[in-house]
Amino acid sequence: MNKFLFFSALVFFCSCNSTPQGKLNILGERQGIDAKGDTIYATVPAFSFINQDSQVVSDKTFDNKLYIVDFFFTSCPTICPKVTAQMLRVHDRFKDNAKVLLLSHTIDVRHDTIARLRNYAQKIGIKNSSKWHFVTGDEDKIYAIANKYFSVAKKDPNSPGGFDHSGRLILVDSKKCIRSYCEGTKEEDVDRFMKDITRLIEEEAKQ
């Protein structure tokens, strides 16, 4: 009997600990059910910004791609360089996979001109803007879309540098659904997040 209990406990323990396989959850509030009775999931709304090479970057840019999002500003005195360093890790890990793109939004559109964004990108070694877009645009639209990515981005005179923002990295799939996120200030959390990216790549390859 004891042996049986021990064995069951062991099986239970192992099953809980093993890496979960299969599909990643789709995050965000459900938007109801369509005519066929399928659940409608929340998606990232249409957007249009300008990147470091003065090219328009919109939701269309990410059609049939999966992408990783963050919010920052170039003169950020707090968490941004740490988050950028983690984005760089993600970039380096998936740089040869054309399906994976990165999208960093400045939240300081007044100071972060296109030239400044380009300079920032180049200084961290990103010469190719078609893989990692650093975008600026309408301030309100950037703050509004941050909410859709489960992130905070707003002006706050009491915060260092004048802006309050979260340091999350967010993973969006080819259907514009959010599938995972992590704290971009925590390396171990980013490790877990990169496993999610790999899972999503595998999942989308099967479709």
Binding site: P81, K123, G161, T185
Partner: protein
């Protein structure tokens, strides 16, 4: 008898060496604990947990010729911040650094000594009075 005495002396000598090594090792581990905490909170986000910096955007503090050159006068740079181009280990950096106004003179001393004692820097001790002098010149 003679051998016993020799052995005793050798044993004593060896113990002394080991003890010194041990004390040094402990000192290494414990020194600048506060400096480390302050560094992590005030500097680490940009300069990295190991002073590695960030590519060509943020200069390294590890094995830094700039750090070695300026040492105590860095107190003023920490307090005031840095604007304009600087060259560190042969690379030009031009990312403004915001001044850290929240650290007092001995806290800055501890941060500087933490940096000096780690990551391949020259371990030269930075004195509180030099930091105070640098800050005084800086604020005047």
């Amino acid at each position: 008898m003679k051998y016993n005495r020799l052995a005793a002396i050798a044993f004593l000598g060896l113990s002394l060496v080991l003890l010194t090594l041990g004390i040094n090792a402990c000192a290494e581990g414990n020194t600048y604990k506060q400096g480390k905490i302050l560094y992590t909170n005030a500097c680490g986000n940009c300069h990295g947990a190991n002073g590695e910096g960030l590519k060509e955007l943020i200069p390294p503090l590890a094995k830094s010729d700039y750090f070695a050159k300026y040492k105590a006068s860095l107190a003023c740079q920490i307090y005031k911040g840095i604007n304009g181009e600087i060259e560190v280990n042969g690379v030009k950096y031009n990312q403004p650094m915001v001044g850290v106004k929240t650290l007092n003179d001995w806290e800055i001393t501890n941060v500087l000594n933490y940096i000096s004692a780690n990551w391949g820097n020259d371990k030269e001790f930075i004195k509180l009075e030099d930091v105070q002098k640098s800050l005084k010149d800086c604020k005047d």
